[in-house]
């Protein structure tokens, strides 16, 4: 992990704790978001993502720990206005006045900031240019989320919080939203997002923290998190009925679903040995695949508290 000084962090969280009654929602979370990066808090529903974000946004009070957002304490009421002028928020479960038009809604919020972006430019950016004069109540669910994004951007924030920004989007809308977020990073905006979509973290984030049960269980880049880069490859296949696992020339184990699994640090040689053995005997290795643990495998392994992880999904197939 990076060891940059805390001062360069747009967001610094150390030992954060929060309980609702007897339920501990956040249990000692620490992470740093550096200026100019996209940082993803990835985790299942109820992991503590939204609670953590809402504490950073100043909506909830923390029980313990240190929190710094753009050098300010979001728990400090006096800092509230100065902080909100520099951050943009895209939240879950929020709404705007139903009888105003898209343009009026964005223009209204623009008036709350000292240096807002151009209203029409932001509307165009989120893809609502054709709906400027549409009343908010007549927008579809996806269009309302785009309007939320516009409201998050209108103040020209240094730091943008996105809470599950593409939940409910169709694949095209999701890719559009990702491109907007990447462009924002390109213009120097720091972005902290929560998501439970693996592919979203993979596609967008510079760094990912995996959160489960109110704790961070892994942190790193999408390519290295949870030891993905150093983990061994896995060869899987089905054997015909005439063969047993014990007949194989190397160590193997049953992997469920009628498959046999071979773990290896050196897949080229192992695969050669295996297929050579099969060709000699005229055996067909059905459903043969080679892969490394996907982000989803890491996610499932680390968020399922040790055992009973469901069958992982193939990321790459050699078949």
């Amino acid at each position: 992990m990076e060891t940059k000084p805390a001062a360069s962090g747009a967001v610094v969280v150390a030992g954060l704790r929060k309980s609702y009654g007897a339920v501990a929602a956040v249990r000692g979370v620490s992470f740093t978001v550096f200026s100019g990066e996209i940082f993803a808090l990835l985790g299942p529903n109820g992991a503590g993502k939204t609670t953590t974000l809402e504490i950073l946004e100043g909506f909830r009070a923390r029980d313990a720990g240190r929190v710094e957002v753009l050098g300010l304490d979001p728990g400090d009421r006096a800092a509230g206005r100065a902080l909100r002028e520099r951050i943009g928020l895209v939240l879950q479960d929020i709404a705007v006045e139903p009888y105003l038009t898209v343009r009026e809604t964005v223009a209204r919020n623009a008036g709350y900031y000292p240096a807002p972006r151009d209203v029409d430019e932001v509307i165009e950016l989120v893809g609502l240019a054709g709906w400027r004069r549409q009343k908010v109540r007549a927008l579809s669910g996806g269009q309302k989320r785009r309007l939320d994004l516009a409201l998050g951007l209108i103040g020209g924030p240094d730091l943008l919080f996105l809470d599950e920004p593409t939940t409910g989007f169709d694949p095209t809308a999701r890719r559009d939203a990702w491109q907007i977020v990447r462009n924002l990073r390109g213009s120097g905006t720091t972005i902290l997002l929560t998501t439970h979509y693996m592919e979203e973290a993979q596609a967008l984030a510079d760094r990912v923290a995996l959160i489960s049960g109110g704790q961070i269980v892994a942190e790193g880049t999408p390519a290295t998190i949870g030891g993905r880069d150093t983990a061994g490859a896995r060869i899987r296949f089905a054997l015909p009925d005439s063969c047993a696992v014990a007949d194989l020339p190397l160590a193997a184990a049953a992997a469920g679903d009628g498959l046999v699994s071979v773990e290896t640090a050196e897949p080229t040689g192992t695969l050669h040995q295996l297929t050579g053995w099969a060709l000699e005997r005229g055996i067909l290795l059905e459903r043969l695949t080679v892969d490394r643990p996907s982000l989803e495998d890491v996610y499932l392994r680390l968020t399922s508290s040790g055992h009973g992880a469901p069958e992982p999904v193939m990321e790459r197939s050699t078949r």
């Binding site: 609702y20 946004e57 909506f59 909830r60 009070a61 206005r81 100065a82 909100r84 002028e85 928020l89 939240l91 479960d93 929020i94 709404a95 705007v96 006045e97 009888y99 105003l100 009026e104 209204r108 919020n109 008036g111 709350y112 900031y113 000292p114 240096a115 009343k135 409201l151 103040g155």
Partner: protein, 246 residues
């Protein structure tokens, strides 16, 4: 970081009032109940009581001289207190208030904007009602300062109470019922009790300049403002923006 200039407080407030007005006039229901409903009531009362001459039952006034200021009082009560409590509860439940809280708009600007909006609506409403009342022999207001004081004091106090009630109830579905419970409608049978509650003093304070050629009614204005202050205190301490409180 360099100093970024902020809009002046007054410009921010005007911005806020403008958009409150816009939201209000765009919603056909709120405009109808605020402005059409009282006129319809006056016309019904006019048809029923138009010929009733001054009597002791109406404190020496004609029926319409008594009813028109009372309808005006109930209208102001409706748009400042009931409407505000219900609208704020709904806005909170929908997440509109949380969205407002996510911006740098200070809480004082949001609430002063609402108050200014309610005062404007009340002034329009009373002007309309008094205008229609002229058709039924209700005189032009005699004491403009007393009328302005009663309107401003009433609107501010009922707004504060509306925000206080919105602070105390948990969900929007309960709002219309609670609004009725907390302030029983003006009752002649319960004069002493109602004299200490805010509605009757407001009605009296409006009756003065509208029907009795009376001036400033300090006692009733005092009761009204005391309620307003109590409401403001509750609102400041208890108001929540978040639909899902901890």
């Amino acid at each position: 970081m360099s100093y970024r200039s902020r809009r002046s407080d007054l410009a921010l407030l005007w911005h806020q009032v403008r958009y409150e007005q816009l939201s209000f006039w765009r919603n056909p229901q709120s405009a109808f109940f605020t402005f059409v409903f009282p006129v319809v009531i006056i016309m019904i009362f006019g048809a029923l009581f138009g010929g009733v001459n001054p009597s002791s039952y109406f404190d020496g006034l004609s029926a319409m001289q008594y009813y028109v200021p009372t309808i005006a009082a109930v209208s102001v009560l409706g748009s400042c207190y009931s409407q505000l409590a219900i609208v704020l509860s709904i806005r909170r439940q929908n997440g509109i208030l949380k969205r407002v809280r996510a911006t740098p708009l200070p809480a004082w600007a949001y609430f002063l904007g609402l108050l200014a909006h309610c005062v404007m609506v009340s002034v329009l409403d009373v002007a309309l009602i008094v205008g229609v009342g002229r058709l039924y022999g209700v005189p032009v207001p005699s004491h403009w300062l007393a009328l302005a004081a009663a309107l401003a004091g009433g609107a501010a106090s009922f707004c504060a109470l509306g925000v206080a009630v919105a602070s105390l109830i948990r969900n929007a579905e309960a709002a219309p019922a609670v609004v009725q419970l907390v302030l029983p409608i003006h009752s002649d049978l319960l004069n002493r009790i109602s004299g200490a509650l805010p509605v009757r003093p407001f009605n009296e304070a409006l009756l003065g300049p509208l029907a009795r050629h009376a001036g400033l009614d300090w006692r009733n204005l005092g009761v009204l403002l005391a309620w307003g202050a109590a409401g403001a205190l509750v609102a400041i301490r208890r108001f929540r923006w978040d639909p899902r409180p901890e």
